[in-house]
Symmetry: C2
Subunit: 180 residues, 2 copies
């Protein structure tokens, strides 16, 4: 941010009175421009024990596999965002069951939320942001070709919980590590 989005004057980086953090401050009109973490909502679409993954047609991580997920939009609930993203990226109509994983990623200022989701039928296809969309059995998951650590961790927990029979919400922090 270089200019004030309210009055177009140059902004400076400084700590406002009564604050303890650097913000973008406009001395011309007095506006303080706050920036905050973003929420990414997605789901694990499940059909007869298989999970639906999308191969990304866009950067970052083009060509790698992901669960359908994307930035929550203004005016949405987290569940609405997760349902919308599944339809946009995988052309699938899902029935959300429950929130399953919730991650804080402080190094990139993101919060990720994945829901478990039922696919009433095996109807899906590649949306504009996907190269291909496929159902995977656990043994066929492309673990070395997953786009994001949040996806890897959600799938790992999902199959582990399936075996133990105890399916519950998982709330974790994910810190930087070499990408998979």
């Amino acid at each position: 941010m270089k200019f004030c989005s309210d009055c177009s004057a140059p902004v400076r980086h400084g700590v406002p009175d009564g604050d303890d953090r650097l913000r973008h401050i406009c001395d011309a009109c007095g506006m303080i421009h706050y920036q905050n973490p973003k929420v990414i909502a997605g789901c694990i679409p499940i059909f007869e024990g298989q999970v639906l993954l999308c191969r990304r047609a866009i950067e970052p991580r083009m060509g790698l596999w992901t669960l359908p997920a994307g930035f929550m939009e203004l005016g949405e609930t987290m569940a609405e965002a997760a349902t919308r993203e599944a339809f946009e990226e995988a052309q699938v109509e899902v029935e959300l069951e429950a929130l399953y994983t919730l991650f804080s990623l402080p190094h990139i200022s993101q919060v990720y939320a994945f829901y478990r989701a039922r696919m009433p039928e095996a109807r899906f296809g590649a949306g504009t942001e996907s190269l291909e969309v496929r159902l995977f059995e656990e043994k066929d998951i492309p673990w070395e070709q997953l786009a994001f650590e949040t996806v890897r961790r959600t799938l790992q927990l999902f199959f582990s919980d399936q075996k133990s029979g105890e399916v519950k919400i998982h709330i974790e922090d994910i810190l930087p590590r070499p990408s998979v």
Copy 2:
């Protein structure tokens, strides 16, 4: 938003190619300025069955009671934000136990997260954003003087779960209603 924060040219409201939502678009430099929901993190500080509430010294809802909570900052986990806000608003050092309520408020594009938190000792005080801070037994909660529906609902669930003995996470949407 009236001007591009990258180049200071006027922005227009339009739907970018390949998108289906109105965004702020800068035709001068090509930047699309996305806006997304914000996360508010807070906690229920608990000492010997009593909960700690803060009377707000700032707008909105100045003079009304709230649980300590505030906007999650860049670079934080949700738990770090909740802990920091408790210290800033109520000068209390809490030990978070677990995420307790998670609300989507689509009409104001917010996500609220409250943790259950243990107060190791009854040490607290009014931070700069609070007029006073007090421990309340359930019978003394100022239900008609609570600042936010998220706070009212969290306290309602908390005391109800205490009675039933089943303390679990609650994930709900909160839609507009007359303020309490």
